[in-house]
């Protein structure tokens, strides 16, 4: 025993134990039972056939033993290669054929043959379910019927001398055992099906409750966030207004002339206040988009009027930095378009403000044009610092700027472009950027041009 190599037992156990198919519970279960059945068949052949062969060798026994060994080994191989169902069907079929031949040769149908068929039905049922069991059952009945008919005609070969004589109790007990086995099989399969259904149902109802709860939490969190942002930004803006106003008052020399140092400090107060103001605006707007801008109704609007509303302030901003500022509306752009004009306005403001913010010299230009019969576009081009290729996607994410220092140098909290992206998406359009670091950037927002069909109750902007 001591000389037995380490791992020998493990190897034997591995050969004896059934294959496991991860993720397929049913297949693993069938393989487990098939494995036991196959080893029992092999054991039976070894335990009965070999001694019987030694005592009274005949061709029939050699043949049966050989077939059964072949079946047991062959099915093992088939099963271990993953063809579990095929192996189970083949085993049942081979047993059926072997027993049928045995019954035919034993000189007539009797109770013990019947219980052998019950055994096959039992194996098929356990391995392959009720329908396969039924199929084998029907095949057994058909064969038995044929055999009884052939026997009545006197066409069967004579029974061997060693055959057990037929008795009523022997027949009865054999049939009884078979019936009990079948009943147990049906009950087991029904029970298993019931449990499986029940488990699935409880899993599903748990998942449903879980997802509903998550949806409610998400909704609440989103509403809370919107309210918090609106509230905070409101509470901060009011005092900020007073600071800006008072600083401006002093800058206008309303209370006497200022020294250079006082002027400089006041200038810093104003610049910092403006920075805060931009940050609050972005935060507030983000919360507003979450809340209801996305639900706003589309209406007919004039793109020229939208430009009139947004351009004056922005032009001033560009001129303060000494930038050229050009606007162009393509002549073939329809005078009236369809969409949420406030959203279009916000997109333009953010894109133009962004362009001015990141451009130190050169120009900012705004183009509105027709793309094709279905779409129009707003294009904002600048000659600013540009955006490295690797950041051209992430700049549209909330709170992202090219890097941390960008926020300090250029102001804003990094929500502008994410707002543009969300508004554009809500309008059914796409936003795209082309940029070369050091050369400038061009943002293009392409929006669908839906022909204004006037529906009852639809909004049409005045003027």
């Amino acid at each position: 025993m001591d000389e037995m190599p380490e791992g020998m037992w493990a190897r034997i156990r591995k050969v004896l134990s059934p294959p496991v198919f991860p993720g397929d519970e049913e297949k693993t279960r069938v393989a487990g039972m098939l494995n036991i059945t196959l080893w029992i068949v092999l054991l039976m052949v070894v335990a009965f056939m070999i001694p019987a062969f030694i005592i009274a060798p005949d061709l029939q026994r050699i043949l049966v033993g050989f077939v059964l060994v072949l079946v047991a080994v062959g099915m093992q191989v088939l099963m271990r290669r993953g063809h579990v169902r095929l192996a189970a069907i083949a085993l049942s079929s081979v047993l059926f054929v072997v027993i049928s031949i045995g019954t035919y040769l034993s000189g007539g149908f009797r109770g013990s043959n019947l219980s052998a068929y019950f055994g096959i039905v039992l194996i098929a049922g356990l391995l392959l379910g009720n329908w396969t069991a039924l199929a084998f059952g029907l095949a057994s009945v058909a064969f038995a019927g044929w055999l009884v008919y052939t026997d009545a005609q006197g066409l069967l070969p004579p029974a061997p001398a060693t055959a057990t004589p037929i008795t009523f109790w022997g027949e009865f007990s054999a049939v009884l055992v078979g019936m009990i086995g079948l009943l147990a099989l049906v009950m087991t399969n029904l029970q298993r099906a019931y449990e499986r259904a029940k488990r699935k149902e409880s899993e599903m109802s748990f998942k449903l409750v879980e997802s509903q709860q998550l949806a409610i939490w998400a909704q609440e969190a989103s509403e809370f966030k919107s309210r918090l942002l609106a509230r905070v930004s409101h509470e901060l803006r009011t005092p900020l207004g007073a600071i800006v106003g008072m600083a401006e008052m002093l800058q206008m020399d309303a209370y006497g002339p200022l020294t250079d140092k006082q002027e400089e400090l006041l200038e810093r107060i104003t610049v910092n206040s403006k920075y805060l103001e931009t940050a609050f605006s972005e935060l507030l707007e983000q919360s507003r988009i979450d809340k209801d801008v996305l639900n706003m109704q589309a209406a007919s609007f004039s793109p020229a009027r939208v430009l009139e509303r947004v351009i004056p302030d922005l032009r001033k901003l560009a001129e303060q930095k000494g930038l050229e500022f050009a606007i162009q509306i393509a002549p073939d752009l329809p005078e009236r378009l369809w969409g949420v004009s406030i959203s279009v306005e916000q997109i333009l403001i953010h894109l133009i403000r962004n362009a001015i913010k990141f451009t130190e010299a050169g120009s900012v230009s705004v183009d509105l044009c027709k793309v094709d019969g279905k779409r129009w576009a707003m294009r904002v081009a600048d000659t600013g610092i540009g955006i490295p290729r690797e950041h051209q996607v992430s700049i549209f994410e909330p709170f992202r700027q090219v890097d941390e220092s960008t926020a300090r140098n250029y102001g804003g909290v990094g929500l502008g472009l994410s707002i543009v992206k969300r508004l554009t998406a809500a309008l059914g359009g796409v936003v795209r950027v082309e940029s070369e670091p050091g050369q400038g950037s061009t943002f293009t927002v392409t929006l669908p041009y839906v022909k204004p069909t006037i529906e009852p109750g639809s909004l049409v902007e005045k003027g």
Binding site: A230, S233, H234, E235, R237, T238, P239, L240, G241, A242, I243, V244, G245, M246, E248, M249, M252, A254, S273, E277, S281, L284, E285, R288, K291, D292, I342
Partner: protein, 124 residues
């Protein structure tokens, strides 16, 4: 003494009210301030301002209610109203009911320019 237009500021945040008041004074208005919606409601039955700067978040009577009353009062049909608010949401909703909606923080100079432009003697 020349007849100055009357500017009425309804704003509960005192520093903001002061800044608005400077702007209107620079624009040539006579200025009166109310720090409470209810006070303003009562006072507006007595005076006819040319311009009202109205804050929306106010104690007692909120700004939007006051705006509704101003708009339905025939005596005040010529009165112009600037809404001053930090609430962009409300600003968007009330856009049509006022001459202008100003989102806080409001620049003193900007307010002065706008008030000047809306002076009754300055309308073409």
């Amino acid at each position: 003494m020349e007849n100055k237009p009357l500017g009425y500021i309804v704003e509960d945040y005192e520093d903001s009210a002061n800044v608005f008041s400077w702007a209107l004074e620079m624009a040539g208005y006579e200025v009166e301030i109310a720090a409470d919606g209810a006070v303003a409601q009562k006072r507006l039955t007595e005076i006819v301002p040319d311009l009202i700067i109205l804050d929306l978040h106010m104690p007692n009577v909120p700004g939007d209610v006051l705006l509704q009353q101003i708009r339905s009062d025939k005596r005040l049909s010529k009165t112009r109203v600037f809404l001053a608010t930090a609430d962009a949401n409300m600003a968007a909703q009330l856009r049509d009911k006022a001459e202008l909606v100003l989102l806080k923080p409001i620049s003193l100079i900007q307010l002065k320019d706008l008030a000047e432009r809306f002076r009754p003697d300055n309308q073409g």
